[in-house]
């Protein structure tokens, strides 16, 4: 028997039943639920007189449309309030644990899962949210599903699924000073496009991935969906164990020892093969910034807005023309120096403690540019509390940033945090679609360090220019090779 990939090991271990026509019934170890994609699923259960099969494997939180300002006030938006109240009532009725608006553990569903130690290697994890791919950083098979599938998982703890293909994305070498996980994943999407991973589960491998912290790995896996992939995975190692050990819901004592024995063999066998392989030279990656209206429309900060005529296909030319019109950009314009009005540090991609530290390191002792409104929205109330213990909140507020409560916030603008028409935003989120952050708003995706630098300079800028010789480095993630941490210029 030839070897198996990490994905195949996890997939095979969760097959409950093979359907005669091809798909399998896949067991779900953890089902995460939030307020936007669940109310219709709970209604369906009620109408059919069905129960939640495994409330003990189901965890809910409110994140998408919660306000990030004063939590003591009722939610001003009537419809948002109804949706949050519906989840509270459904969790109560069906016996599901809920981290509500007033819980010290509330936060973005993909931030609190790992934080609580609920996300573990080898698990199948689903949620009615495309960024469920985040949890693949632990060697879990984690993917987003629709509301009908949410109802199916609630009722049966399983999902009907056809086996995806496998893709290896290997990052060779270590990136230089000022380059982080967001740059790796944006560079990949720029290379393969937003449909490059369609039908595939990506496994990220290579020296740059091994050197990443768990939070960095989560940033990479989070945006797998932006490459069109069903999921992204990274094999568990010592870094994974170190992160999980002692988390509130992680196994303890003898259970921990047994779990580690199950987890560590979850690697791709040396004689296994992938359906597709992509190699990227991580040493050649510069800070990335998007210029268009999907995450594949991306280039390095030193680059220029492309010319539609440079694209081979008619469809691409039209798409680029449309994107440039929406973004109000002219071909050939250098990205560096492009003025921004708003800066958003947040989202399930980049609102963990390391992201906030990275942004704070750039911001410390500086002031947000006069014409910029900047905000930091921590990914969870635990991240917020940790940042406040470290004094990061004071660094941000002293510089002129708004310091908010946890939620999805301006990543998708379901709560009051939105862009006004024509505003240009440097954002650490994951989607630069038309209108994503508010109708007519223009989004440029980048790393937390780059977004922080844009806030200070009032325009897109190469964060490496803001490095200081006394800094220990802009990044904490590349800890395995300290030499890359010293500024080159």
């Amino acid at each position: 028997m030839s070897g198996r990939t990490l994905f195949e090991k996890v997939w095979d271990a969760h097959i409950v039943h093979r359907h005669p026509e091809g798909p399998v019934l896949l067991y779900v170890d953890l089902h995460l639920v939030h307020e936007v994609t669940s109310p219709q699923a709970f209604d369906g259960l009620r109408m059919a007189g069905r129960r939640v099969r495994r409330p003990d494997l189901t965890v809910a939180t409110v994140d998408h449309n919660v306000p990030t300002d004063d939590r003591a006030l009722p939610i001003a938006d009537e419809v948002s309030r109804r949706q949050v109240e519906a989840l509270v009532a459904n969790a109560e009725e069906f016996g599901i644990e809920l981290f509500d608006l007033h819980s010290p553990r509330q936060g973005i569903v993909h931030v609190i899962g790992p934080e609580l130690g609920l996300t573990t290697p080898g698990s199948v994890i689903v949620c009615g949210d495309s960024h469920t791919s985040t949890h693949g950083a632990f060697g879990a098979l984690a993917f987003g599903i629709g509301t009908s599938e949410v109802e199916h998982v609630l009722a049966t703890q399983t999902l009907v699924a056809s086996r995806p293909r496998t893709m290896e994305v290997r990052f060779d070498g270590l990136p230089g000073y000022g380059i982080g996980p967001k740059d790796l994943i944006l560079a990949l999407i720029g290379r393969i496009g937003t449909a490059g991973g369609t039908g595939h589960v990506i496994e990220y491998t290579g020296e740059a991935i091994r050197a990443l912290s768990m939070e960095g790995r989560m940033t990479v896996c989070n945006m797998s969906i932006e490459a069109g992939a069903r999921a992204g995975m990274i094999a568990p190692d010592e870094t994974t164990l170190e992160y999980l050990r002692g988390r509130p819901r992680a196994p303890r004592g003898r259970d921990w020892e047994r779990a580690v024995q199950r987890w560590l063999p979850l690697t791709t066998d040396s004689d296994a093969t992938y359906d597709t392989t992509v190699h990227i030279d991580a040493t050649a990656i510069a800070p990335q910034v998007t210029w268009g209206t999907n995450p594949g429309m991306v280039t390095e900060i030193g680059g220029r807005v492309p010319d539609p005529d440079d694209f081979a296909s008619e469809a691409d030319r039209r798409a680029v023309e449309r994107a440039l019109a929406y973004m109000d950009l002219k071909p050939g314009t250098p990205l560096e120096g492009l003025a921004v009005n708003r800066v958003f540090v947040g989202s399930c991609t980049n609102a963990r403690i390391e992201d906030l530290r990275e942004a704070a390191r750039v911001v410390e002792g500086r002031r947000v540019s006069n014409h910029v409104r900047a905000m930091v929205v921590p990914g969870s109330m635990q991240v917020k509390a940790q940042a406040e213990r470290e004094g990061l909140d004071r660094i941000f507020t002293a510089a002129g940033f708004e310091w908010r409560n946890a939620g999805c916030s301006m990543c998708l603008g379901m709560n009051p945090d939105i862009l006004q028409p024509g505003e240009r935003c440097a954002s650490t989120s994951n989607r630069n679609f038309e209108g994503r952050q508010g109708r007519g708003g223009r989004t440029h995706l980048m790393s937390p360090a780059m977004a922080a630098a844009a806030a200070i300079e009032g325009c897109l800028v190469d964060v490496r220019r803001l490095g200081r010789t006394e800094d220990s480095g802009l990044r904490t993630e590349w800890t395995t090779r300290p030499s890359v941490l010293s500024p080159q210029s």
Partner: protein, 220 residues
């Protein structure tokens, strides 16, 4: 496979899903690549707790101008697209967010089938869950269809036949497609997947007992 024979009750039929066998209808063309679900149904309309009421918000920011009037330049507002039930779309249609509100909005607006060179994975599944048939055609076939819509003097019609797995018009166009056999059966019979899965109760129970034994260290 005929699932209706498996259960004496009607519990395997999905009340939300009209079975799809064959459909003839007017075509609307949206020749744009990478249309994301944020465009199909913008976030401000995701706050409803019902499955209905989304149709009027379909492609909201494209279909309507900021003052609420119809945008005359938008493809779906062309007179020939009025009442369309088949959508021709660009590659990677439905990318981005997993929101099932997107197929709910498309369905309520009147679309029964979407033809494109490729679809995003989650959106594709969500369509089938709601009785919308997503059909993958080749780039050449899609280009041919877009050209036929443009060349038609008036409204252009297609027939999408899931039993035969063919797309035809009355002027000589004919293309074959294939859908995963399981999904095809599900659409043809309008099946309730939960009802079907619950018939596997014994296997789910057995899997759960083994899973518990592994977690407890009783089984390797």
């Amino acid at each position: 496979m005929d699932y209706s024979a498996l259960s004496p009750q009607s519990s395997v039929v999905n009340v939300f899903m009209k079975p799809f066998t064959s459909h003839t209808g007017r075509v609307a063309a949206l020749p744009r690549a990478n249309v994301d679900t944020d465009q199909i149904i913008p976030k401000q309309f995701l706050k409803r707790v019902e499955r209905t009421g989304f149709g009027r918000y379909l492609f909201y920011d494209w279909r309507l101008l900021p003052d609420g009037s119809e945008n005359p330049a938008f493809e779906l507002n062309q007179p020939n697209a009025a009442g369309a039930s088949i959508l021709l779309a660009g590659a990677n249609f439905g990318c981005g967010s997993s929101r099932e509100h997107a197929p709910w909005a498309l369905s309520e607006y009147g679309f029964r089938a979407i033809l494109a060179e490729s679809f995003a994975d989650i959106f594709f599944n969500n369509c089938v869950q709601n009785g919308i048939l997503p059909v993958r055609l080749t780039a050449a076939e899609m280009a041919d269809l877009f050209a036929r819509v443009t060349a038609a003097r008036g409204p252009y019609e297609l027939t999408v036949d899931l039993e035969q797995e063919t797309i035809t018009d009355n002027a000589g166009f004919r293309a074959r497609f294939t859908l995963d056999p399981y999904l095809r059966t599900k659409l043809l019979q309008g099946l309730d997947e939960i009802g079907l899965t619950l018939m596997q109760e014994e296997q789910i129970g057995r899997f759960e007992r083994r899973r518990a034994a592994i977690l407890a260290g009783v089984e390797p």
